[in-house]
């Protein structure tokens, strides 16, 4: 059985995926996770989660190309230039 391991580097920080361990049950998974992700003082805490418990979502429908929903779909540079022109504060190019 595969367990996904998340580790927290410092108290208060978000947990980040560290890797996975193969183990026959939770107890072994805990021991192996300690060994691989916690033994060198690199973690303050670990989350050990059976892989089935992780629900992966990777289908993000964007049929209508609503790119204004995305940060990279809304370039500001052009709009800013136009606004400056209107206000008469355009930079000399």
């Amino acid at each position: 059985m595969i367990y996904e391991v998340f580790r927290q580097e410092r108290k208060g920080q978000a947990f980040a995926h560290a890797g996975s361990v193969e183990a026959p049950n939770e107890e072994f998974a805990e021991a192996y996770s300690r060994e691989q992700y916690g033994r060198r003082g690199e973690s303050t805490a670990l989350w050990v989660v059976p892989r089935e418990a992780v629900h992966e979502i990777d289908d993000f429908a964007d049929e209508l190309q609503k790119n204004y929903h995305r940060v990279d779909g809304y370039p500001l540079k052009e709009k800013l230039g136009l606004a400056r022109e209107r206000a008469g504060t355009a930079r000399a190019s």
Binding site: A23, P24, E27, F28, A31, Y32, R34, E35, Q36
Partner: protein, 188 residues
Amino acid sequence: MSAQELLELADDELILGWRNSEWTGIAPLLEEDVAFSSIAQNEIGHARAWYELAARELGTTADELAFDRRPDEYRCSRLVQLRLVPDWAATIARHYLYETVDAERIAALKESDDPEIAGLAAKIDREEAYHRMHAQMWFERLQDEPRFKAAVDELRPLLEVRDEHTPELAELWEEMTMVRRSVAGATW
């Protein structure tokens, strides 16, 4: 605690650490390989710490105690001398038996009047707690296996035998000290 008792303890840890390290790269699964190798390394670290205390009392060094005695001078239990690779059931049986008895020994040492020994025992016990957890979870997994039960019964009586040396210890000593003996007088 006499230097001789310290040596029993240190020799047990060194030889068991060496034997357990023989599983590095060939354990039943990768995760176990990492875990068991790490336990082996801890045992050798504990041996070093106990040898250092004994060395001060005997006016020598930890390295000399670990590697420059003759095989028949070692005080380790017969249990730790055996080469058990590739028998995983017997290896876990030994691990379980050793950790059970070692837990009692360490608990007693934590109460020592000598603050140095008590302090070192407390420090080592924090690592041993993990070894015990590891031994316990394997024990629970294998306890109903006939091969495992037979190995426990066979190995148990060897725990207290310290005056008989197996030919396997002499072979291990040859391997363990080969590099050290290769350049006489080297300080590395």
